[in-house]
Every structure is written in C-alpha cells, then in structure tokens.
Amino acid sequence: MTAGRNLDTDRFFAHYATMQRIRAFERAAIRAAREGLATGAIHASIGQEAVAAGVCGNLVRSDLLLSNHRGHGHTLAKGADAGAMMRELFGREGGVCGGKGGSMHIADFGVGMLGANGVVGANILIAAGAAHGVHMRRSRSADDRVVVCIFGDGAVNRGPFLEGLNWAAVYRLPVLFVCEDNGFAATTRTEALTAGPGPKARAESLGLVAAEVDGNDIVAVDALARDFIAAARAGEPRFIHAKTWRLEGHTAADKGAYREAAEVEARWADDPVARCEALLEQAGVESRRLAGARDAAVREMEAVFDEARAADWPAVERAFEDVLDTTAARNAAD
C-alpha cells in the first residue's frame, strides 16, 4: 500500500467513513436477518468495503450504478439513504423500493443507483444498455454521465459477461465494469471453475483496457477507479478486477463450514477497514477522529435499525401498483 505523509487525508477519511458505514450497515443487516426482521436473504459485503468506497467515491450523484445481489455497500457508497435501505430490508413502508424489492433488489434511482440484481451477471447487460442510452443522448445534450457495473467473480462464467463487454467495446460506451472477486460463488471456490488466466484476460480479449488491483487497498482502488472512470466517461470502456475476500458467509444464514476457521482468521488480518484506519493513523489522523467515525457509523445504523423495526408495513394495495399502466383496472380484477 502506497501510504505515507503525503496522503490526501480528507479524501481517505471520507472513504474510511464510508467503509465504516457499510460495515455497520452490514452488521445491522445480518442481525436483522438472524432476528427474523429482515425477512429475505441478506448477502453482506463485510471485507469488501474498499471496493464500494473506492469505486463509488469517484462518482458524482448523476452517475449511474448497477450492482448485484451483494449490493448494500455499493448503494450506500453511491449516496442512498441508509434508513430507507434498512426499511427496505425489513419490508416496511418507506423502504427505498416500497418494500417490493428487498435486499437483492435494492435501488435508489434518485442517486443514480439503478438496482441490485437477483440474477448473477444480469446487471452487466443492463449497465451496457444504460451506457448506450447515455451515449445516444450525448449527441443531443451535454450528458457526461458514466455507468459503473459491479458484479462478482462468479459472474465471469455467464454469457452476459462476454456479450456485455463486447457490446460496450463495439459501441465505445461510457461504462466501467468492476469484478469484485471475493473468492467465492456461494459455497464454491470460484477459481476451480474459472478456466484460463482470469477476468482481466477475458476482458482484454473483448477489447477492453483492463487492470487488476488489490481490492482491500483503498488507495490502489481509488487511484485506479479515478483513472478508469475518467477514461470510461470519455467513451473508453474499462474493466477492473478487484481481488478481495468475503469475510462472512454467503448469506446471513451461511456459517461457511466449507472453509477453515484458520483461513478466515488469516484473512481478517487483511481487513480493508483496518488497513485504511492504519493508513490514516500513519498519515497523522488522530485515533479519536477515526474512532469517532466508526462510532458514528455504528450509532447511525443502530438508529436506522430501530426506526425500521418501528416502521409500518406497507399498505396491501401497493402490491397491485407499478405493474402496468394500461391494465391497472384489469389487474385488480384478477
């Protein structure tokens, strides 16, 4: 990690605060799942926070983001309201999707977050298309939005990886693809089922400039993302392979019996949040300020947890809304 005195401490303090907020949100979400309050499956991103913070921290509000089933961190980092997100996980009124989506479909179009996705790899094509739409509108207005798409290492074995990356390169679309490689696809180590030299080579073979990065190194992720987002914004699609590790189970219910405790413990030594904290300390940021950010994050997420628990259920009529304009009346009749 390239640290030292000349670190832009403001910038990385902001990333640090984001990472702590994600960590605290995920802890609260896991607790909610275990207590039966988050009624659906929860895929937490503990250990992967530097990817969310480093990538999304380089976007502006109008930029667009597509995520996968493990999308809380990305969504928070893009600026969504934690309270509305937590209410969504609880399936309550005021949830960011009105309780219709839940964790796997978390989205906040108001901050350019166009949705998590329950289908592995599906977001790649939607992202390519969002970038295509932005590209088309550029000829008419000064639209310089960039689209970022984050997916897992499991997604590189699905057809959309090839089709979406080829598409972005053919039409020179403003999109950055980020493969957030946490080592696993559910209970399976992805490596054994992914042939060839890896995601970077695959992306290059499809015409994209691509790079690998230590996904737990916030400085490296930030620098690469900044460069690649600038290029993508200019119509040169880019690809990042960020190597990180999933410190918790696949879902809140998964105890991760398929990996040794020793391995998990060793990986905790590489915790990106702790690494960022050490870096900032080294750069002269007071421990008190760092602890303050952490505590604020924990308090914030405890508060949103309590708020969510207290929130009402959505009115049942909502179940019949947002289906089709043309048939509102008819649908109700069925």
Partner: protein, 319 residues
C-alpha cells in the same frame, strides 16, 4: 387511404415515431440493411446508424441492453428477428424488463417494444416457426400485442412505442406481404387492449388474432353462404385483452370458438375459453396446433396448421 403492406405499415409507424421523439431508436441484427423482412427498409438512411443500430448476434445483450437504455429514458425498439431467438434472452425480458418497475417500487420505467415475429413460414421447421404469445400473457409486467392487418400494424406499433411499459409485439412472418388500406397521419394510433370486430355475426363468437384472423374470415365467408353467421373478433392485444367486447358478443351468440396458430395445449385460447366458461357458462371450444414441434416437410408442417375448413367444421358443430 393508401394501400400498404403489413411490413410497410410497420416501417412507417417507426419512422413517424422516430421523427416525433428523438428518444426512439431500434436495434437488432442486420437492421441497417432494412431487416430480414424489409420491415426497416430505408430507416438507416433517414435516421443514421446510431438510431437504427446494427448489433452483434447477441440476443441476450440486445434485450438486456435495451432494458438499461430504457431505464435511462430512451425508447428502444428491440428486433428479435424470429420469436424463437428471443428464447436466448428470456431472463432479460422476464426477470428484468417485466419486473424492474415493480421490484424497484415504481422507480424504474422500462419503455421498450420487443418485436418478435411469430408463426409458421414455409419449411422453417422447429426453431423458426413458434408462436409463444401465451407465455408472455402469463408474465406480470408485460403487454402483448399480435396484429393481423396492415392498418393495425401501424396503429398498434405506434401505441406500443408510446407505451411506458414493455410491450411484446408479435408480428406474423406470413403477413409481411399482406396489403391493405392504412390511415395516414401521425396521430392515428390504435389503443392497446381494444379488440376489433372483423366481421359481425349472430350465431357463434369466433375469437382470434394474428394470421388466423384472415383464416377465420375466410371460414366465416363460407359459413355465411350456408346461412350460419359467425362473429369474428380480432383480439389484437392479448394482454390486456378486451374481455368486455368478447363477453358482450358471447352473451349475444351464446357460444365461443377460439382459434390460434399456437399449440392448443396451454395456449392463450385456454385463457379466453376458461374465462368465458367461468363468467358465462357458455359452450366453448378451442382450435390450435397439436402439441408437436413444427416439421420441415410441407405435408408434415401442414399437420400443425389450423385451416379454414377446420374452423368452418367447428363452427358448424357448435352453431
């Protein structure tokens, strides 16, 4: 009113909508050359390659990218060439396009028209002849349209393009060359969800759509000479379907025959027949293809067809 073919009517509908709204565009394979059936002829020349966009052979991407492009406010017309190839893009249509608005609590709108030509087209065999309209009627979030005439293909396509929800728009491959009068004018749209009476009658209500409407009309002409008067209703839109119009007709005639080219088992005819049976208790009957893939050899392929003789015979039995 000028005479146009079904393909020309669609082409003009697209041109008019593209002139009206700069966010409308079309994408698919070989579109720049006018499309496989000429249904995009001349459009690339007028609108350029960005708005009449040639794509790689990547159906999943064509569909999936359109979902994203629609979410950011453009209005893609998705060309799938044959409805059979759309089976390479079902996740993108059914899990993404159809559900995005709902899953995200109304934050997303996905205005896209998915053109999926259906039907038997001489010796195209099992992978180029399917009519799977029933599938999409079963999927919440989708509108389903299957026009039978040039005029409808203009007016309904325009409405589909203006619709803010995803529309599966199924033209019939054997109708491309059919000529008919088509009203001129930018605002001559036809509302989604409204059936059309192809031929008024009193004895049996015959409900159909797409190419079978022409076949039903021929059968009706024969029957009328025999003194039997069928009312032929062209549903035009399968979801939402014009239940009121059909119920009103069956209430008068007392009996229903549904005719479609798709496989009878699990076809949309089952939905129409079941609904009529539930609501009116009237005698119902369906005609559709046997549950066999479509064969190549003409005499075998013909076994999958519903003919005007079959329709006439069914009506005679019911009347």
């Amino acid at each position: 009113m000028p005479e146009l073919t079904y393909a020309e009517a669609a082409r003009i509908a697209i041109a008019e909508e593209m002139r009206r709204d700069p966010d409308v565009w079309a994408l698919g394979e070989d579109l720049g050359r006018g499309g496989v059936f000429g249904q995009y002829a001349g459009l690339a020349e007028e609108f350029g390659p960005e708005r009449i966009c040639d794509t790689p052979i990547s159906e999943a991407s064509i569909m999936g990218a359109s979902v994203g492009a629609a979410m950011v406010g453009t209005r893609p017309i998705v060309e799938m060439r044959f409805s059979d190839f759309a089976l390479c893009a079902v996740d993108e249509l059914v899990n993404q396009a159809a559900k995005a608005r709902y899953m995200f609590g109304g934050q997303a709108r996905v205005p896209m028209v998915i053109r999926e030509p259906i039907g038997i087209w001489r010796s195209s065999a099992a992978q180029h002849s399917q009519s799977l309209e029933a599938w999409y009627t079963h999927i919440p979030g989708l509108v389903v349209v299957a026009p039978a005439t040039p005029a409808d293909n203009k007016g309904l396509l325009k409405s589909a393009i203006r619709c803010d929800d995803p529309v599966v728009y199924m033209e019939h491959k054997n109708l491309w060359g059919l000529a008919g009068e088509v009203p001129e004018g930018d605002e001559r749209t036809i509302p989604l969800g409204a059936a059309r009476v192809e031929r008024a009658g009193t004895d049996v209500t015959v409900v159909s759509w797409s190419r079978m409407v022409q076949t039903c009309a021929r059968a009706a002409a024969t029957l009328e000479e025999e003194g039997i008067s069928p009312e032929v209703i062209d549903l035009r839109t399968l979801w939402p379907w014009d239940r009121e119009r059909v119920m009103e007709s069956v209430a008068r005639t007392g009996r229903l025959l549904v005719v479609h080219e798709a496989v009878a088992v699990g076809g949309f005819g089952a939905e129409v027949a079941a609904t009529v049976a539930e609501e009116l208790g009237a005698p119902v009957r369906r005609l559709g293809a046997p549950r066999i893939p479509i064969a190549y050899a003409p005499p075998l392929e013909d076994q999958a067809r519903v003919t005007d003789e079959m329709i006439a015979a069914a009506v005679r039995e019911m009347a």
